[in-house]
Assembly symmetry: C2
Homo-oligomer: 302 residues x 2
């Protein structure tokens, strides 16, 4: 029986998220109706989601030793995420991203990931992996993800990959290391071009040994296959009015891993992940809209 | 004879500036080639420019007591700007702005100026105005600008207005309080709709008692009229390859006020302001591209 502690590893961004009427077609000045800033990035947003759901989570990532990194940590201190393993790279610049979200929920995201921020995973406290309940990695820090997934395999800790769009060679390197391979739709399509989504999922599932493979499909919910299944399970979402889909996938993955360590059955945890992501989309402000557990339960069962 | 100390008053923004290939027409993800962050806003950028030119400058503005405000002050600590009179509003949120600059130098600016940030100018240390060499205000903090210009008039300290685009009633309130009224082109046109720029300048000059009235015209330099002049003086800029025009007007106004307290003759200080702004436009990164004095002098005289 594993513990309940989840390790999330991946990218860290300081996000500035602006609500605008319409994303303009020309250079101009556009007054934002609202704006928020948040410690974000895929693994960061997933970790904050797990904390809101009541999970025990630590975040392994790297930021600069700059004022933006201070803001990132101060913001995460508002969530119950253990940031004791966040590395501050001397002289490094924390990654930043700006997102414009328009009235229709369409968005323009502009990330700047400073390539100079030291990617060496040699500092990772891999001795902490044994005894964890699960590890979740994103694809934005490949060397770190590879090191953590490899160690978790060695220690018998379940591994979950948030397989978002990335160079195919990188996805193919990480996929065999994960027990739960959970794609975004564009990432899955990038690996099996031209196939419909169900066929693409089946094609990937045939080639690997993961316990679970799946793909999130936004408002349509998620498609899931267990190892050995001959058919795909479609798990629906709930109807919502979309305000902002930013970080919806990260919230989904956080909720999924939380459900995994809590022992929720597969279909139940996918359903709850769908609902958590849907609730997030009802609210402006990226991962700041991630719900608590009671809210997810209430919406899932109505 | 006035002192050399300049007081700049106005808005404070924490800017995130992204260099992108092209500003997209649809919501998407767009990787930035480069990004910088800077303490900015019109008066802030002017103050930093004055410091780089070797002037003595203090900044009167207001920010939140949040992590973004910390970043703003840390960034200004890299310039020789006196920030001892920057008010940190308890519970306030520092204003933020994101700017995308594309390959052609076109830009999309998205400011969020939290209306909840206390605008009351009652805390302004107006006893410090006497003995200053000049004051410069922008139009983004009307109550503060009004208070400072009024006090400076009382104390016989020269007043400079950076008259950028703003509600016409607000411009008409501040213009009579300034000895040097220096418009941006759109702001001037907003007051005299339909007139060509020279006629607009003449029309405004006829109604007020300012010592100098002028308008900045980007690559075409600036147009200036002294009180009582029957003609307009056109002061050219220098030819450049534009990278980023963000804060060019603020750099221009900072250089102008610096020249004023240094006693540079009118045409000379307008020429040097044109050159300082032009050099800034050659560099990506908003006001971070403001030049030092030696560089301005070298380019102005070639």
């Amino acid at each position: 029986m594993g513990g309940r502690r989840i390790i999330c590893l991946g990218c860290a961004f300081w996000d500035s998220i602006f609500k605008v009427d319409e994303i303009p077609r020309h250079g101009t000045k556009l007054l934002a109706e609202q704006a928020v800033q948040a410690a974000s990035g895929m693994a960061t947003a997933a970790a904050a989601t797990i904390a809101r759901l009541g999970g025990m989570v630590e975040l392994w990532t790297r930021i600069g030793d700059d004022a933006t990194g201070d803001a990132y940590l101060q913001n995460l201190a508002l969530e119950r995420v253990d940031t004791g393993q966040v590395r501050r790279v001397p002289g490094g610049r924390t990654w930043i991203s700006t997102v414009l979200v328009d009235r229709a929920g369409e968005r323009l995201a502009v990330p700047f990931a400073d390539p100079a921020l030291d990617p060496d995973p040699g500092w990772l406290p891999l001795a902490r992996v044994a005894g964890a309940g699960a590890v979740l990695v994103d694809v934005r820090w490949p060397a770190g993800a590879h090191a953590l997934l490899t160690q978790a395999r060695r220690d018998g800790v379940p591994t979950v990959l948030d397989a978002d769009i990335a160079p195919p060679a990188l996805l193919r390197d990480l996929i065999p290391l994960a027990d739960h391979v959970l794609f975004s739709e564009p990432a899955l399509q990038s690996l099996v071009p031209g196939a419909d989504i169900d066929a693409a999922l089946a094609a990937i599932a045939d080639g690997i040994d993961a316990a679970v493979i799946g793909v999130t499909c936004g408002a349509r919910g998620a498609l899931i296959r267990r190892r050995g299944d001959r058919t795909t399970l479609a798990v629906p979402s709930i109807p919502i009015a979309v305000q902002d889909t930013l970080n919806a996938g990260d919230v989904w993955h956080g909720a999924y891993v939380h459900g995994l360590v809590e022992g929720w059955p597969l279909e139940r945890r996918v359903r709850l992940a769908n609902v958590a992501a849907a609730i997030k989309c009802e609210r402006f402000g990226g991962r700041l809209g991630a719900p608590g557990l009671a809210e997810v339960m209430a919406r899932a069962d109505t």
